[in-house]
Symmetry: C2
């Protein structure tokens, strides 16, 4: 049998999706699973944009240009203008989701052995894209006590080596929900200029800023034109994860040309998704106002819900729809799996993402989980109740004296669920 | 300014798209360009499938599962069954076009320095996907005199080294149109088993077989279950290149798992395209019958058209919608560019793909061009007339004595077209 490549063998399992077989087995037993593990919003996709696609007369579903449909790229400039960003179509390369944008930029910017500095915890899939070009992720710790604020520039600077090629930020942040300030970003931009580094910025949650906070884009950092590479996507903005339409933007023409050669080899991004996304730019402001209001309410349910449980701590995220919180557990991987295999409360359980996958060293995430608040308020409340009950009976608690290990009805061990999941 | 990566610098330009700026400049001068350079069919996309997508009620456009929508994967098995191929959904990984299928398999199968043996001329974009994993394409010559028949197994065998990891075929072939026989494929399969190699097969033109010939899929090679990796796509089958839906199929479970980890990192293939593709499987046979009839007629126009021109030779392809033909020219790159910058006939010119980009050594393609027959018969006839007139006046002819260089009206040099293209 021919061998798998080294990369094929070393590609990490998705930290977010690795527990899916356990969830499936649990569901097969009629137990409801509240999905707080994945950033799949339940918000309705704008009807207008879906209708626009349905009403588009297509005779031949052609390849689009490799850089994307021209009218869409032009309309995207309008969208960015509305967000205070001045950009022209020839700087925008439309991609298959934000994922392809990351892949293209990493490929064209990073040599084997190059280092990308990222504040941690960080979006777990960056690992795979770095691995694909044999680049190394170097992390700067951010602290749950400060709500995972951006580390000070001095902290970044001490991680810079001759191999450092980029600093990467995600703003607002997945998984922490932290929103970086203009001042933060000027400091990072100055550092990138000083050391001639790329500034990779994932801004796919741009719209999701709460409590009156405003988003500042790295595209507005003066003097950083050749450093900044922006990753964007329509997935979260329009609750349209399945469209698979994103883009990569840079004013660095040499980099743009290299990415275009890669774009041409893969031919084109999806046409249906681009037609949808072009129409979605006309989505009325009321849609977003309602969505933001909903997310703030959901966030509050989660933050209050977690902080009410003895031994738990959840900072208040200012953006996106994630939070990383601390639980009184010895091992988040074990806990998240146990929730699916050994626990139920009122016929339901909760699926969380162990934070171990969001750190360079899994140990740093042993007592933390990432929670997404993409479900409706009633479901989130029920999920919080579930979590509270689970922590009362979980055998792996670290503060066991504080919470007496009362055996609840919920603890019966459904052995069949376990074995099903192991198949 | 930060540096571009070595890969970014070395990524080859698309052999098919590199002349696009010249074509654009020509069009800007009001000259019609017959596109015989690109495999973009003008055939109508099946209306039923487009309507099925338009009528699908979508509330939330969710991520699909990373391996593709389950009902689509099941329906794909039906499609393969109709083509005499027995496969189960868990062997099928749905991808963003055939391009992503190639990229995933190459990444998970090939180590840096590994070699893939490919009969040449071959589809130019394989170069980029090989480059991305630092693999090397090693070519076995096939000959225009035999219609680019698959080289003998002995020929393949002499190129096998300790670094050989795969043999790759495209059947029916892009760019030659050659259709490999069952006997050919048994021989290649045996070789792959003997040397423990992957057998990569690009079968995206499966439906396009002419003159009563039948397609034989590598998935039906007994004993090659762990070797065979199939690339497929709906782009050509349903004239739906913009859907960006393909798949990679293998019965090698270890390889499948590795590709799944990569698939999870990029989240999911496009949902709209999958909904369309699932419905497209119900396209009635009459659609395909009409399409095949049309392509045979087009092929005949091209083959007869080329062979009628003094000094030209075109074999008769048995599949796909490409042919590589020999012209009496010294340099196909120069000729194809000259057609766009210096020539017109009745207000039109022809765009061809120089065959130089389809060979490992461009010299082998200096007298050849790839022609696609994706345009309607009238356009193809007009394009053939154009080509005939162009060859009468082209200054770079190699058999200039045979064809007297009569200065035709068509030869006036539009200098402005040239300069526009150089911008």
């Amino acid at each position: 049998m021919p061998h798998i490549s080294h990369k094929g063998l070393e590609l990490p399992q998705s930290a977010i999706r690795k527990l899916v077989p356990f969830a499936d087995a649990t569901k097969a037993h009629g137990i409801h699973v509240y999905h707080l593990n994945i950033g799949q919003p339940d918000i309705e996709t704008p009807k207008g944009a879906l209708e626009a696609l349905a009403n588009t007369k297509i005779n031949v579903l052609e390849y689009s240009p490799s850089a994307g449909i021209q009218s869409y790229r032009e309309k995207l400039c309008q969208y960015y203008k509305q967000h205070g960003i001045d950009i022209t179509p020839e700087r925008i390369l439309v991609t298959t989701g934000g994922s392809e944008a990351l892949q293209m930029a990493f490929t064209c910017c990073l040599n084997p052995g190059d280092e990308i500095i990222i504040p941690e915890p960080y979006y777990t899939n960056y690992n795979t894209f770095a691995k694909l070009c044999d680049a190394k992720i170097v992390t700067v710790p951010s602290d749950i006590k400060t709500g995972f604020a951006l580390p000070l520039v001095d902290d970044f600077e001490k991680y810079i080596t001759p191999y450092t090629r980029a600093i990467m930020i995600c703003n607002p942040n997945n998984p922490t929900g932290y929103l970086y300030s203009e001042k933060d970003l000027y400091a990072v931009g100055a550092l990138c200029k000083k050391y001639d580094l790329y500034l990779f910025a994932d801004e796919v949650y741009r719209e999701f800023c709460y409590d009156g906070e405003e988003h500042f884009s790295v595209l507005n950092l003066p003097g950083c034109e050749n450093n900044v590479v922006l990753f964007d996507s329509v997935s979260k903005r329009y609750s349209a994860c399945g469209a698979r339409v994103g883009c990569v933007i840079t004013r660095n023409s040499e980099l743009f040309s290299a990415m275009m050669r890669l774009a041409q080899a893969r031919l084109s991004p999806p046409s249906f998704g681009q037609i949808f996304a072009e129409a979605a730019i006309d989505t009325p402001q009321e849609y977003f106002d309602a969505v933001m209001k909903e997310y703030v309410a959901r966030r509050n349910v989660i933050v209050e819900g977690i902080n009410r449980i003895p031994g738990c701590f959840c900072p208040t995220p200012k953006g996106a729809f994630y939070t990383v919180c601390e639980l009184p557990i010895a091992d988040s991987d074990h806990f998240c799996q146990w929730l699916l295999t050994d626990f139920e409360y009122n016929g339901a359980t909760v699926m969380l993402a162990p934070a171990t996958g969001f750190y360079s060293d899994p140990e740093k995430g042993r007592h933390q989980v990432r929670i997404t608040y993409c479900l409706c308020i009633d479901d989130l409340k029920a999920a919080m109740k579930c979590l509270e009950e689970a922590l009362k009976v979980y055998p792996g608690r670290t503060d066991i004296k504080k919470a007496p290990a009362k055996k609840a009805d919920a603890t019966k061990k459904p052995a069949a669920r376990k074995s099903a999941a192991k198949k």
